[in-house]
């Protein structure tokens, strides 16, 4: 069986859904970060696959961009997480509800 575009897209969709469920269900901030990374990489797969399919390098370039931005985002995000942990002693979202309206 040939592995075609649709297979890649299905993998991408599955990964995205896993990431989304993670974002919605997880309570730990660190886990939320992981989940967003999963979602971003799901999109990367889709970009790369479609780019190859259309023989257009723009999609792959975009994937690179996303990887770079994700890396910097993680760097900043982890810094914030450490500060938060030092301040509250926990990364559980249920404990971090100081913005209640």
């Amino acid at each position: 069986m040939m592995i075609g575009l649709s297979h890649y897209l299905i993998v991408s969709a599955i990964l995205f859904s896993i990431g989304l469920v993670g974002v919605l269900r997880r309570r730990n901030l660190l886990m939320l970060f992981f989940a967003t990374e999963v979602m971003l990489n799901a999109v990367n797969i889709a970009f790369a696959a479609i780019s190859h399919y259309y023989n257009d390098l723009t999609g792959q370039m975009f994937a690179f961009f996303i990887i770079a931005i994700a890396a910097s985002e993680v760097a900043v995000g982890l810094g914030i997480l450490i500060v938060l942990y030092k301040k509250y002693g926990s990364l559980d979202l249920d404990d971090l509800a100081s913005m209640r309206g």
């Binding site: 989304l20 974002v23 919605l24 309570r27 979202l93 249920d94 509800a97």
Partner: protein, 639 residues
């Protein structure tokens, strides 16, 4: 020359700003003095311009700057000093100078002294813009400025409550100010429409350009424009039926009344008609002009009749203004524009003198204006008595004083135009004028002393005030002697202002003059017989006369104010109240309130979303994203 024009125009403005600096502080004499000096400066500049124009005959036309430049509309901020405007400028600034000096004495005890001078100078400045502008837009700006300043000044004692007086229904200064302002607003709409029509059809607002194009306009356009402009003039010059504000405006301080009546306000309407003389002398608008003349004659008679029985000193003078404005419109309507302008100038002098003299009496009598409570004041107020007598003789129209020449010329004009009914009415009015002006003099200065028993101790005005009034007295006497040279002066402006009596009238002129003099003298004699005698012949109030039908009709001003009250003010009030409770509260307000309630409610309900838990927010975000996706999908399927 250009600089003189700017000095004449802006000196009052600077004076006003200067006084405004001290507006909130207590009375400072130098504010009044500086204000008077600036107006005086303006007068000197105007007089120099007038002299220059008289000797060289060159019209000064300056354009200060571009003012409005939009599309085809181009209105420069320009001023013209020609024979018409220079007459107005000189008269306005001269009278204003005297009034300013007078006000220093008159407003002596008022705590808003500085504020008063600020308004007074601004009033003069507005009038100067009005008369000097070389286009209708500038005229309109001055027109409105005069309206605002009159509102400020008539309502100057805004804190005074309504006071019901025996001879006068309840009127407070603020009410009178509002009445004047609103009535003028009605008329201003007419004037605006007139200006629009002219602009629409000629594409310009400059006087010379508009007037140059008049012959090419259709009859309907000309007639509508003439009518609309005259409606504006009717409001400012208080012609029937927009006249009631003028007498009520007497609630303002007396210097203001003098200014309004002699120089800066009511003459604006006459000025507008004279300025637009090329329009009003068109053959197509002869009907409108004749209407103006008829209305003027009617108002002259109508106002004089009300003055016959009035008890309030200032109101009598106000009616006489109304009556004299009627004369001016009669002359302007009959085409004798220069005679109207001449009468305007002569009238300004003696009317200002009359008002300032009346102010002296009012000052002496502690704001009491009821003639029935005066009498024999001449012993205590000799200077004022002399001034008032001179002014009244001038108003009554006895030679050789100013009023005779100008008024007689107007009456002669009516004869010359074969409008004998107007002529007869004007002659009778001249008799009535003589009667009521001397009735007022005799009741206040002659006859039995009625004020001492009532506890009044009148005293003469300050010396400097009396001295300041003397130029007006001199002018009230001599102005008429220069009629001939004035005629030569103003004839240079063009054919439309020129007016000559026919030979036939010329032969009869002496007799016509004698008829007028006869009526005037018999009016004075009757007034003397009735009011001036003392002892057992002294005048007594009589119940029988005062309850008579005509007396009541006149004393109530033909019930016109009553009519306005019943048929305009009250229904308007009722409608307003209905609209307020039914439309405003129930529809407009309710709509606004409901929108606010909806927003409050929805905010209150959705507040629970704001838990502070990031996880919940992310869930909501996901719901939103899904929702948007669904909408996008649906619209893609439909589209």
């Amino acid at each position: 020359m250009e600089n003189l024009v700017y000095i004449a125009l802006f000196a009052p403005f600077i004076g006003s700003l200067f006084a405004a600096l001290f507006g909130m502080s207590e009375r400072k004499i130098f504010v009044g003095i500086v204000g008077s000096l600036f107006i005086g400066l303006s007068f000197v500049a105007s007089a120099t311009l007038a002299f220059n124009l008289y000797t060289t005959g060159t019209v000064v036309h300056v354009t200060m700057m571009d003012w409005i430049n939009a599309g085809d509309l181009n209105i420069p901020f320009g001023f013209v000093v020609d024979q018409i405007s220079v007459t107005m400028m000189t008269v306005v600034t001269l009278v204003s100078t005297v009034v300013h000096i007078y006000a220093i004495g008159y407003m002596d005890h008022d705590k808003s002294f500085n504020r008063f001078f600020s308004y007074l100078s601004a009033f003069v400045f507005s009038m100067m813009i009005l008369v000097m502008s070389d286009n209708f837009a500038g005229l309109f700006i001055g027109w409105e400025g005069v309206g605002v300043c009159s509102w400020l000044l008539v309502g100057f004692w805004y804190h005074k409550p309504d006071q019901t007086r025996e001879e006068n229904p309840s009127i407070s200064p603020s009410w009178a100010a509002n009445e004047a302002f609103i009535m003028n607003r009605i008329a201003d709409l007419g004037m605006l429409i007139g200006i629009f029509i002219l602009y629409w059809n000629t594409g310009s607002l400059q006087y010379d350009e508009v007037f140059a194009q008049l012959p090419y306009l259709g009859e309907t356009v000309l007639v509508t424009a003439a009518i609309a402009l005259f409606i504006g003039a009717m409001g400012k010059s208080a012609q029937f039926p927009l006249h009631t504000w003028l007498t009520d405006a007497m609630e303002g301080p007396t210097p203001v009344s003098a200014l309004i009546h002699a120089a800066t306000m009511v003459t604006a309407g006459v000025f507008l008609v004279i300025r637009s003389n090329p329009l009003y002398s068109m053959e197509e608008v002869a009907g409108v002009s004749f209407f103006i003349a008829s209305l003027g004659t009617f108002v002259a008679f109508y106002a004089a009749s009300m003055a016959l029985v009035e008890r309030d000193l200032k109101r009598i003078i106000a009616y006489s203004t109304l009556s004299q404005l009627g004369y001016m419109f009669a002359a302007a309507g009959l085409g004798a524009y220069w005679i109207a302008l001449f009468h305007l100038a002569a009238h300004a002098f003696f009317k200002a003198l009359l008002f300032l003299g009346g102010g002296n009496v009012m000052h002496a009598m502690h704001d009491e204006l009821d003639l029935f409570k005066m009498g024999a004041l001449r012993k205590k107020m000799r200077g004022t008595w002399i001034y008032m007598t001179i002014a009244s003789v001038a108003l009554a129209g006895l030679p050789p004083l100013a009023g005779f020449w100008s008024k007689d010329a107007i009456i002669e004009t009516a004869f010359n135009e074969h409008t004998y009914i107007l002529w007869a009415m004007l002659v009778i009015t001249a008799g009535m004028t003589a009667f009521y002006s001397f009735r007022q003099v005799f009741l206040s200065f002659h006859g039995e002393d009625r004020h001492t028993p009532l506890g009044f101790h009148p005293h003469e005005m300050y010396k400097f005030v009396l001295v300041a009034m003397s130029p007006l007295a001199v002018l009230a006497v001599i102005t008429g002697w220069f009629m001939g040279s004035y005629k030569a002066f103003i004839y240079k402006i063009g054919e439309t202002v020129q007016y000559e009596m026919s030979d036939h009238t010329h032969h009869l002129a002496t007799y016509l003059g004698l008829i007028v003099i006869f009526f005037a003298i018999s009016g004075i004699a009757y007034a003397y017989y009735k009011y001036a005698r003392t002892g057992e012949n002294a005048w007594q109030r009589s119940e029988k006369v005062e309850n008579g039908f005509f007396y009541k009709l006149l004393a109530n001003q033909y019930y016109v104010p009553k009519f306005y009250e019943e048929f305009i003010t009250k229904p308007y009030m009722m409608i307003s109240e209905k609209f307020w409770t039914q439309v405003d509260l129930k529809i407009v307000d309710a709509t606004v309130d409901n929108i606010a309630k909806f927003l409050y409610g929805s905010g209150d309900k959705t507040r629970s979303m704001q838990t502070g838990n990031l996880s919940n927010y992310l869930n909501w975000m996901a719901v939103g994203a899904v929702l948007l996706l669904v909408i996008a999908a649906i619209s893609a399927m439909i589209g």
